[in-house]
């Protein structure tokens, strides 16, 4: 036993000794440093502008920006590059970067666990500013995210803390959890988005549950993009997905989410209402019937929150809904659809609509016992296989522009892949340095930041596994 302990100690020391700090300055490539780095290394990036996409697929990397005299390291996609940073290694930290002008996602964590995304400024235009997907045990904190479609998008993940962020002026949502469970969303400032905070169970995805999210002590202020303000609302869907629109101008949206808590938030000045709850039948934003998902929001509790001046000028979807009910203003709590076991604390103190089935929460109900949703210890994580990286890269990178059978921004993959069938290496080489091929489609951005083996794996997936 003593000998075993000695070996473990020596190994630990060896790892400690091996951990290095790699400095990167403006004239150098961060991706080159990532290639050189080993697990446990820290890459310190000096202030300056770096025009590259980063792919971190090694475990234990700390990618750390250095701020000097107020100058940050800036990752600049120049409105050409797809993604700022894609992380597919476990135990990775990304901190102190400005990430801007990427067209896909700013900082994305894919299939990786035990991650931290700290103190970054992610500016659009982009799809999602910060986007952990298929991850467990992560921290997203002290970031400022603006100008994307969604600021912080937690996709199909578990055991996350989303703390102390500011998410503003995003086209859709400030913060969204999608088919995610055990997430603490606390002390964030979400303003100027179409919807402040969204808890969402989307049908048709591999993860079929969304539960145990605590939304607490956030400032959800003036989420009003004015997107539909000038429409006659005739094309705006009221109940079902219709045009796939959110109830814009809303503070907090709960869609088919279960066992979650809304507590201690300041919800102010959201023109279409403070809290909007819906089931998948009535209000789903994505309409795919997925019978494996329970479509109803169940066992949620709305506890002590502060509501100020919400619902005074509803528009779009909410306005149309209210107009059917001969109302001009939205209540604090609007419930569209059904659900089971939901409750409100001090229900009498709130204005509500459609919440007849919501009971009074037990006196003194609180989520204060929840201090973090992260696990006490890092979740053991096997390195991702090449196949997993390939599939994840398809989702993260390719599906932004391609679907299998129909035109998106790029041509349908069934057509695009045809010249490469049987030769995945040829496709892998092409995506690294693509050229414009089709007059009616834009040129594809280069994907050379992906390592050759990952590119090859994506190509194999596209050519050999992707089916209608």
């Amino acid at each position: 036993m003593k000998r075993l302990l000695s070996i473990v100690t020596l190994l630990a020391l060896a790892v400690t000794v091996r951990a290095e700090v790699i400095d990167v300055s403006e004239s150098q490539s961060i991706q080159d440093a990532i290639k050189r780095a080993n697990a446990g290394d820290t890459i310190k990036v000096m202030p300056g502008t770096y025009k590259e996409s980063l792919y971190v697929d090694k475990d234990g990397i700390r990618l750390s920006g250095v701020i000097k005299d107020g100058h940050w390291p800036i990752l600049d996609g120049e409105n050409v590059l797809n993604d700022g940073i894609i992380v597919s290694g476990h135990n990775v930290t990304i901190e102190r970067f400005v990430v801007r002008r990427y067209l896909g996602n700013g900082i994305m964590v894919q299939g990786a666990n035990n991650f931290s995304i700290l103190n970054n400024r992610v500016e659009g235009p982009g799809f999602y500013g910060i986007f952990p997907q298929y991850g467990q045990n992560g921290l997203v904190a002290y970031n400022v995210v603006s100008g994307n479609v969604t600021g912080i998008y937690v996709g199909m993940s578990k055991n996350l803390d989303v703390l102390h962020n500011e998410s503003a002026d995003n086209q859709d949502e400030g913060i969204e959890t999608e088919n995610s469970s055990q997430v603490l969303v606390e002390d964030n400032y979400s303003h100027g988005n179409a919807v402040g905070i969204v808890l969402h169970l989307i049908p048709g995805l591999p993860i079929k549950v969304a539960e145990q999210v605590v939304v607490r002590n956030n400032f959800v202020i003036k989420n009003d993009r004015g997107v539909e303000a000038k429409t006659d609302a005739s094309s705006v869907s009221v109940i079902d997905s219709g045009t796939g629109q959110y109830p814009n101008g809303t503070g907090i949206l709960i869609d088919a989410q279960d066992s979650s808590t809304i507590e201690g938030n300041l919800i102010e000045g959201n023109p279409s209402g403070a809290i909007y709850v819906t089931d998948q039948h009535a209000g789903q934003m994505f309409p795919v019937p997925d019978p494996k998902e329970d479509p109803y929001p169940d066992n949620n509790q709305i506890l002590d929150n502060r509501f100020i001046g919400n619902g005074l000028k509803p528009y779009g979807r909410t306005l149309k809904l209210l107009s059917y009910l001969k109302r001009t203003q939205a209540p604090d709590l609007l419930v569209l659809g059904t659900g089971r076991g939901n409750c409100v604390l001090n229900k009498e103190a709130l204005s509500t609509l459609g919440a007849d089935a919501w009971s009074e929460c037990p006196s003194g109900a609180t989520s204060h016992a929840v201090t973090s949703m992260r696990l006490k210890e890092p979740v053991p994580s096997a390195p991702l296989t090449l196949e997993q990286k390939g599939r994840l890269a398809w989702l993260a990178v390719c599906t932004g522009c391609h679907s299998f059978s129909t035109r998106v921004m790029g041509p349908p993959m069934v057509a695009a892949r045809a010249p490469y069938m049987g030769d995945p290496q040829k496709l892998a080489d092409w995506i690294a340095h693509p050229t414009k091929k089709r007059a009616d489609y834009p040129a594809m951005p280069p994907q050379s930041y992906l390592p050759p083996d990952v590119r090859l794996e994506v190509a194999k997936y596209v050519l050999e596994q992707l089916e209608p």
Binding site: F131, G204, V227, I239, G283, F286, L392, P442, P468
Partner: protein
């Protein structure tokens, strides 16, 4: 006969917010896209200061909505062709042609009740089929095409329904079909139109509760199930009608599945499972195999939620077998778009993997 539908009523404005964003992904499209965005802004759909362009997929919509139908001078040949097309329930163009041909037959014989019923039935079938295509498409890329197709269905219906109601004001079957089409065209999106259609359906089933094998009750029940309580819906209201529909047509999988959902919503798990077991015992009809493939997909999911592994396995096996035998049946698999999709990238597996060779 080639049917070309009208241009999309809006270039890209119906695209979701997500779709809009993808447009920014490539700067080369900016010029084209800005012209689209200009139109949208003119209609007040995009944000005032939003420079994010939209996706140009709608330019394909009219092309995709085209279909070709054979021409027939002989009415009986036309009738036979329409009948053959109407059972191709996985094929949107076949259903469209069936509706068109039967529409022509009904117009040519204005007093022929059977022709009118056939035409209305085919229009309903087409409209419901397209609505389902729309519903199953997570990416919403083809929605403009589907909207054009629904518009075409609405045009046909608008020409037949008023005269049908005038000519057969007490005919339950005619009234049910007219109201069902209106309900399907409105969808749950417009509660006023939907509830008006429900009232019409109720009137029809009062005239003849057994008309069309309980189809009226089925549509009433399904509508109540889909409508939120705030608009007068609810599972408790749906159940009596769905029960009548089931009793009138015990082998109609739609009534059984809807009953399962209604009982589940109310937490009546035992009754939900009873309905689900009954659904598992129904034999598929050759005339509508797609319906059974779809209902068994729903059945498998409901069995999962109701914790019945035995029924999960039963539905999955039956559906896989059916899909394997009929490779043109639609799988309803969700296509990957924008980082979403049915396949789990960690395992490489997706729901309904065994039917992935079938088209979506």
């Amino acid at each position: 006969m080639t049917v070309k539908l009208s241009s999309p009523p809006y270039p890209a404005c119906a695209a979701s917010n997500k779709l809009r964003l993808v447009g920014i992904a490539l700067a080369e499209t900016l010029v084209l896209l800005m012209s689209i965005a200009t139109v949208c802004v003119a209609q007040g759909v995009l944000p005032r200061n939003d420079t994010m362009p939209t996706v140009p997929h709608t330019q394909d919509a009219a092309e995709h909505a085209k279909y070709t139908c054979a021409s027939f001078s002989d009415p009986s040949a036309k009738e036979r062709a329409a009948a053959a097309l109407s059972v191709q329930t996985s094929d949107k163009n076949a259903l469209a042609c069936a509706a068109d041909l039967r529409f022509e037959l009904a117009n040519a014989a204005a007093t022929d009740r059977a022709a009118r019923i056939d035409a209305l039935t085919s229009i309903l079938s087409y409209v419901d089929h397209v609505r389902l295509l729309k519903v199953y498409e997570l990416g919403q890329i083809d929605w403009p095409e589907y909207d054009l197709r629904l518009e075409h269905g609405a045009t046909l219906a608008a020409k037949l329904i008023p005269t049908a109601r005038q000519q057969w004001p007490q005919d339950a079957a005619i009234l049910i079909l007219c109201a069902a089409i209106e309900r399907s065209l409105a969808g749950p999106t417009d509660p006023e139109k939907t509830l008006a259609a429900v009232e019409e359906l109720k009137r029809a089933v009062t005239i003849d509760p057994k008309a069309l094998g309980g189809l009226g009750q089925l549509y009433i029940g399904r509508t109540y199930l889909d409508l939120p309580p705030i608009f007068g819906g609810g599972a408790d209201k749906a159940i009596p009608y769905l029960t009548e529909a089931r009793d009138a047509a015990p082998d109609d999988p739609r009534a059984l599945r809807s009953l399962t959902e209604a009982y589940d919503e109310l937490g009546r798990s035992r009754e939900a499972l009873d309905s689900l077991r009954a659904l598992a015992n129904v034999s598929p009809r050759e005339s509508d195999l797609q319906l059974f493939a779809d209902e068994w997909r729903m059945g498998e999911g409901l069995a999962t939620r109701l914790h019945s592994p035995e029924l999960v396995a039963s539905f999955a096996a039956k559906r896989a077998d059916l899909m394997h035998q009929h490779p043109k049946l639609l799988s309803r698999k969700v296509e990957s778009v924008w980082g979403h999709g049915e396949t789990d990238p960690m395992s490489g597996r997706s729901d309904y993997d065994d039917t992935k060779r079938n088209p979506r």
